[in-house]
């Protein structure tokens, strides 16, 4: 996370405006660190070859004009399911090999218009389907805290990028926990905004009613500015809501630990939760109470059905969204198919990995004649009950605290043989997507094995600012050490890392 130039967005902006460093210098630093560490961590699927040029152009403009935003010249990495015109977007899938984007995602375009420098595009589980980044067609990302452990997923590359100090800010997408769970596993802050806060235009669709783009950052204050920059109505995404993004700043400023009502669903701290995580969260609860927060007992009776609902709703939507990948218009196509039907079927069989195929099959089944009522329709009704539970709970509390993940980062291969056990990694995060609520994971130190632990905050709709302020207060209680980067480049720049 540390770099020699700045420790926050505000400090970056000051240093830039006082000419303490150039944008080119900063850009080159992060690129060379990425070059050194990427062979061992596999964080980036592509590096932006134009990044230094862009940095130089920004430096040239800064000679004559003041920066238009704190983000002017700020280095960013983006998950490789976000489109950027003229650059590859692979979604970590063979089926998109050779594909170059024809447009730029609205969220990315808004950051670019403020002057960010995109350094590269990060690894993910194929089409954002997974919880460990092991489903990438280009190999898994390694956890910067322990290279034998997964970084979480699906936004594992973006989380590891910030944790390993390859970028101070990165973007991910979150459909069932894909920002928050890797944030917890990599010891960084990760935020999923309220559904409708940020345009999904240019995010390759997985489950359109659940997907949201969000940032990984070093602090709540930095994440707040990134959210404000990306948010707001977009004619290209009809589900975006016309609200003033600045309301998040007011929420941040007006929130304090003293007097905050923290909802505790006690059932979620019981069976199935790793002991060291339970203990750390107990410590956090005591610390918050000690600073004047009030615990409020809440029940979310339908949350235990979250995984059931998710794997029907998300797979149904995925089966429809992924029908566009057929080998006709872009990407991979099998050679010499016997006929058109064979071209579709073999292109998709060879182009998609196992998890994507499993979800397409499950979703197609859930929507098929004779089963739609018992599966898909029932799931949508239970989804409504999950949301109602939350809205009732928020009449009595300002936010809800839960663990982010039931376990610390697990070992490679530990869950790949059993899809269901992998799905259960998202048990605490998935309901926020189903209810459309903002939620984040904030690091609360490391366990006795040196692995990060995350605390999960869920808030009522549009309460991102409030959650981020609480996250900053929580982070202040648990200063994070820096990960020792392994695999022969402990300092990040030893011989082994140079290529």
């Amino acid at each position: 996370m540390k770099n020699p130039f700045f420790s926050s967005l505000a400090e970056f902006a000051r240093g830039r405006d006082e000419r303490r460093f150039s944008i080119e210098e900063v850009t080159r630093y992060f690129l060379s660190r990425t070059e050194a560490l990427n062979p061992s961590l596999n964080v980036c699927l592509s590096i932006n070859q134009n990044a230094v040029n862009r940095a130089r152009q920004i430096d040239a403009r800064l000679v004559r004009n003041k920066a238009i935003s704190p983000f002017t010249g700020y280095p960013v990495m983006i998950k490789d399911n976000l489109e950027m015109e003229g650059y590859p977007t692979t979604c970590a899938s063979r089926i998109l090999s050779g594909y170059l984007s024809r447009r730029t995602a609205t969220a990315v375009a808004r950051l670019l218009s403020l002057g960010v420098v995109v350094l590269g595009k990060t690894n993910l589980d194929e089409f954002a389907m997974g919880s460990s980044t092991e489903n990438s067609a280009f190999g898994p990302t390694r956890n910067p805290w322990n290279p034998a452990r997964v970084p979480g997923g699906s936004s594992g590359g973006s989380a590891a990028a910030v944790a390993a100090g390859l970028a101070p800010l990165s973007l991910g997408s979150d459909t069932g926990g894909s920002i928050r769970q890797p944030a917890a596993f990599c010891g960084v802050l990760g935020v999923k905004p309220t559904y409708g806060r940020i345009s999904r235009s240019g995010l390759v669709a997985f489950s359109s009613s659940l997907d949201q783009i969000g940032p990984f950052a070093g602090s709540g204050a930095d994440a707040l500015e990134a959210l404000v920059a990306m948010s707001g109505k977009d004619p290209l995404d009809m589900t975006t809501v016309d609200r003033d993004p600045a309301e998040m700043r007011s929420g941040y400023q007006s929130t304090e630990v003293m007097g905050a009502r923290i909802g505790i669903p006690e059932a979620l701290f019981g069976e199935g939760l790793d002991g060291s995580i339970r203990e750390r969260l107990k410590d956090l609860r005591d610390a918050l109470s000690g600073e004047g927060a009030r615990e409020v007992s809440v029940t979310l009776p339908h949350s235990r059905f979250g995984i059931n609902v998710y794997y029907l709703v998300a797979t149904s939507e995925a089966s429809s969204n992924l029908s566009r990948f057929d080998g006709v218009r872009y990407g991979f196509r099998v050679k010499n198919p016997a006929d058109l039907r064979a071209m579709y079927e073999e292109t998709r069989d060879q182009g998609f990995g196992d998890e994507v195929k499993r979800r397409i099959l499950l979703g197609t089944f859930a929507l098929s004649a004779g089963y739609q009522e018992a599966f898909y329709r029932k799931a949508r009704k239970v989804q409504a009950l999950i949301r109602r539970d939350f809205l009732e709970a928020f009449e009595r509390c300002d936010m809800i605290l839960t663990p982010t993940s039931p376990t610390p980062p697990f070992a490679f291969g530990e869950k790949t043989g059993d899809p269901l056990s992998m799905y259960l990694s998202d048990v605490y995060t998935i309901t926020a997507n189903l209810a459309g609520l903002p939620a984040l994971s904030v690091p609360v130190g490391i366990d006795s094995h040196g692995l990060p632990i995350g605390a999960h905050l869920i808030g009522p709709p549009w309460s991102e600012g409030r959650l981020l302020k609480m996250a900053d207060r929580i982070a202040g209680l648990y200063p994070m050490p820096l990960p020792e980067l392994h695999a022969g480049h402990a300092d990040g720049f030893s011989e082994g890392g140079r290529r």
Binding site: R102, R329, M343, E345, I360, L361, T364, R380, A384
Partner: protein, 97 residues
């Protein structure tokens, strides 16, 4: 509920996925296990007045306003196979029909 391999192959055809024999065998077991888990939903009582998730967030429609879109050349730029301004795919109709 347990699916048979024939069920999986039927769903695979609906999904335009050509599964290999080995894949179909494996997916039959895996998808059955997932279905047995998600069927846990059957114990949830749905109160009469409850709306489903879709009704809570009705699909919003954009106004039908003409605006510039991808050019034909742009749309064809990534084509795996093309012929002039068309995507080329294997023949659909028999010769002479």
């Amino acid at each position: 509920m347990n699916l048979s391999k024939a069920d999986v192959l039927h769903v695979a055809r609906l999904s335009a996925l050509a599964l290999t024999e080995a894949e179909a065998d494996r997916m039959t077991g895996e998808i059955s296990a997932i279905l047995n888990y998600v069927e846990g939903l059957s114990v949830v009582d749905i109160p009469d007045e409850s709306q489903d998730g879709a009704a809570l967030s009705p699909t919003l429609l954009a106004t039908d306003t003409p605006s510039p879109s991808l050019s034909p050349e742009g749309a064809l730029a990534g084509a795996p196979d093309r012929s002039g301004s068309f995507f080329r795919v294997p023949r659909i109709l028999e010769e002479g029909r």
